[in-house]
Amino acid sequence: MSASNGQPLLQLKNIDTAYGPIQVHFDLNLHVHAGEIVCLLGGNASGKSTTMKVILGLVRPLRGSVLFDGRAITGLPTPQIVRLGIGSVPEARRIFAQMTVRENLLMGAYHRKDRRAIAEDYERMLTLFPRLKERLHQRGGTLSGGEQQMLAIARALMGRPRLICMDEPTMGLSPLYVDRVLGLIQQINAHGYTIFMVEQNAHLALQIAHRGYVLQNGRIVMEGNAQALLNDPEIQDAYLGEKQ
């Protein structure tokens, strides 16, 4: 899937990030076009999750800029970035455990004011996620991990984002749910949502993504078409653990 007008929806330019004396990103560049699924791969402590935090304004980079739809959003407060149209499926889901499933869903639309459209989206989520419909009045914390992941995705969709950032959406899920979540990501992408996801499980992520980046010690060491990355022997060695 290529860009329609050439300008990426999200662009990170020359990002350097540090936590105190420890530098996390070194001149990070990446972009996501509207309609794409792009995945960011890398091992532990490679700086993947920090990339998400930079995009969402939770961590401010030392240098460089984040452009969303051509507009610089670097350093804006998180709520404002969310309002501009970036939705988040956080690492470890971060469901509001003491709030009901319904309340969690509606929290996703917190920044929206269009009540009628919110109600429509809410109904749509219940059809899309019948499992959640059964548990509407249960507390979020009582759901299983897989159900929580579904809820986290549905919650992000409730914000009608133009870009959804997903941080390790398959982490800690049973194999059955891993497949379901990946299928779901493809499905919502087909509905026109642009997705940027961080994943440790490179093999799975590349199966559904259009393009991918490989992050190593804070530097992008490889990028390209998902299929090409899947077939790259170096990737297979280092990240896929397949030495057939």
């Binding site: 709520p79 969310v82 971060r94 509001f96 709030m99 917190y110």
Partner: protein, 611 residues
């Protein structure tokens, strides 16, 4: 039997009414703890502001009660927002102990401001309600009881609906449960924080108004009691648990009411403190929680800021000591000497705080309790058993070390903010026991006629004599402590401060080293208390209060935690400052509170740096 039943049901009504007010206070504390993870020591001050605003509305302006309620609600909400905005918001990102200390500073300032505006004396609060008491099935109920119950139920329903059905209520709950996730939903968590303070402060203010009407009086010291009753209720219910806070408040009210009926009115305040400690120690998650343990705080919660100590060459310290010793010769002004003597004696307490809090990392707000133990021990040994002062002073220090450590021992498993509350409560318990153990301590009368300090027949009566004595003690204490913190023992203490779990993993027996730290600290504070008591010649349960404890901690923060010279400099500055600028003496606590706020914000490592 019937009269017993009558008393029992009357006490139950009493307890529920008072408990209702405690619930108001506790709900505010629980909301603030839930959303901001902060223990708000200024909450009682807002409560008092509510009482005074209500009093002004009704006595100065003759406003109807309903209008007074509205005014109190609005003013207190504004005060709450101001506290959040000016004292706490600038500290976001600082270690959790920093905002806690800031609220202590704020409470000092508000309390003193109220005293300055309305005097220290209590004012009579008119009761605008009809003085009619109803008989309902053998139980007497007054109009004020019904009003309090009604307001309580109305507030609970309003708050419940707000949290449950409104957008902002959801934002508040979401922020309390997961701040970062709430941010990612587009919630402006800073605004939520401020709103929470507004709600909590409004509830606290209403409670103040109700208490004023119930007891027909308002007075400045109602603030601290309210904070503590609130803490006790909130801890009973589980920190951050709003329905739990309501139940905790009602329960505390009932316990107090029955307790007073059984033991007598002077025991009233003891129950809250004992409950506070007992629940913190045995069920830190509250009575209504299934999980018995509190979620652990970040391991290094004590230090405000890491920093290197400002280098102090030996010649400088020698010069300072030399100057201190020639002051009585160069400036034999009894007033000056008296102030500096106070500074030396408080300096010893500050040293004890810097040891336990700065070096060993256990925030202590109970140091005045140890002083009181020392003072009473020495006084009783001298007056009852005829011991000489030099012996009684040493014995008092050991008694303080032993009793103090035993008192704090159950709280050893607590950390950071919890140990701060527990030690503050322990200091308060000591005073309450002194007040109530009349056979030993003469209760509220206090002990008068303590002989002045003496040494081998040398009676220290003139100002310069006690000056030299206390200065010598301070230097000796500082020297010993300096050796201690430079020894392997000091290194072990610092390892507790940095990371208890890691220290334990390296085989450090936490309880043993905390015992040693609190033991030494209580020894030193007890010694200071003994000398202070004999210097004053009169002591009572109000001589060594929590204010002294907080002042000692403020000195340490000002000088730099763990920094011995810093503790002494802090003691001198804070003791002398209000006296040097004579006009400031009336504003003493404003100065202390402001100092605390400014240091935490602009120089968190203290004047001389942490060590």
């Amino acid at each position: 039997m019937e009269s017993f039943l009558r008393t029992f049901s009357d006490q139950t009504i009493n307890g529920l009414v008072i408990g209702n007010i405690y619930a108001f206070i506790a709900v505010g504390l629980a909301l603030i703890f839930g959303v901001g993870n902060l223990i708000n020591f200024a909450h009682g001050s807002v409560f008092m502001v509510g009482a005074y605003v209500g009093w002004v509305c009704m006595t100065w302006w003759n406003l109807p009660l309903a209008v007074a309620f509205v005014v109190v609600t609005l003013v207190c909400a504004l005060v709450g927002v101001a506290i959040e905005r000016f004292a706490l918001y600038p500290l976001r990102g600082a270690p959790p102990i920093a905002p806690l200390l800031a609220t202590i500073g704020v409470s000092f300032m508000i309390d003193q401001a109220v005293q300055l505006l309305f005097s220290r004396n209590p004012h009579a609060f008119p009761n605008p309600l009809i003085e009619h008491r109803f008989q309902v099935g053998g139980v007497t109920v007054g109009a004020i009881d019904l009003l309090i119950a009604g307001v309580g139920v109305a507030a609970a329903l309003t708050l419940y609906s707000f949290l449950r059905f409104t957008r902002w209520g959801w934002a508040l709950r979401a922020t309390a449960q997961d701040r970062e996730a709430a941010l990612q939903m587009g919630v402006n968590v800073n605004a939520v924080n401020r709103m929470t303070f507004a709600i909590a402060a409004a509830l606290g203010g209403i409670a103040g108004l109700l208490v004023g009407m119930y007891f027909n009086t308002v007075y400045p010291t109602m603030s601290f009691q309210a904070t503590f009753k609130g803490f006790a209720a909130v801890v009973l219910g589980g920190l951050g648990n709003v329905p739990g806070a309501v139940l905790g408040g009602l329960l505390l009210g009932l316990i107090e009411s029955y307790g007073v009926a059984i033991f007598g009115a002077t025991y009233r305040n003891l129950f809250a403190f004992i409950i506070l400690i007992a629940v913190l120690v045995w069920r830190p998650n509250g009575l209504f929680s299934l999980k018995p343990r509190v979620t652990q705080e970040p391991l290094t919660g004590t230090f405000i800021a890491k920093g290197r100590p400002v280098p102090t060459p030996k010649w400088l310290i020698a010069t300072l000591i030399g100057v201190a010793f020639v002051v009585p010769i160069l400036a034999p002004n009894p007033y000056l000497l008296q102030i500096l003597t106070n500074a030396w004696l408080l300096g010893m307490v500050a040293l004890s705080v810097t040891l336990v809090t700065g070096t060993a990392g256990q925030t202590s707000l109970g140091q005045a309790g140890f002083m009181a133990i020392g003072a009473y021990a020495s006084a009783l040994l001298v007056l009852r058993l005829g011991w000489p002062f030099e012996l009684s002073m040493i014995a008092a220090a050991f008694i303080s070390a032993i009793l103090g450590t035993l008192l704090v021992f159950p709280a050893f498993r607590l950390r950071a903010a919890y140990i701060a509350i527990a030690t503050l409560a322990i200091g308060e318990i000591v005073n309450q026991v002194i007040l109530n153990w009349e056979g030993l301590t003469q209760g509220a009368m206090g002990i008068a006629g303590l002989p002045p300090p003496s040494l081998l027949g040398w009676q220290m009566i003139r100002p310069h004599e006690i000056y030299y004595f206390s200065l010598a003690l301070l230097c000796l204490a500082a020297l010993v402590q300096w050796r201690l913190v430079r020894s392997p023992l000091g290194r072990t203490w610092r390892s507790l401060r940095e990371d208890e779990v890691a220290a334990q993993a390296f085989g450090v027996n936490l309880n043993r080293y905390k015992t040693l730290a609190f033991g030494v600290a209580a020894w030193l504070a007890g010694l200071s208390g003994a000398v202070t008591g004999h210097m004053y010649t009169y002591i009572s349960h109000e001589t060594f209060t929590n204010t002294t404890s907080i002042l000692a901690l403020t000195m340490v923060i000002l000088g730099g935690m763990g920094n011995l010279l810093g503790a002494i400099v802090g003691a001198v500055v804070l003791t002398a400052l209000p006296e040097v600028f004579r006009g400031l003496a009336d504003y003493r606590y404003l100065v202390y509170g402001l100092t605390l706020l400014l240091v935490i914000r602009f120089r968190p490592q203290g004047l001389l740096g942490t060590d």
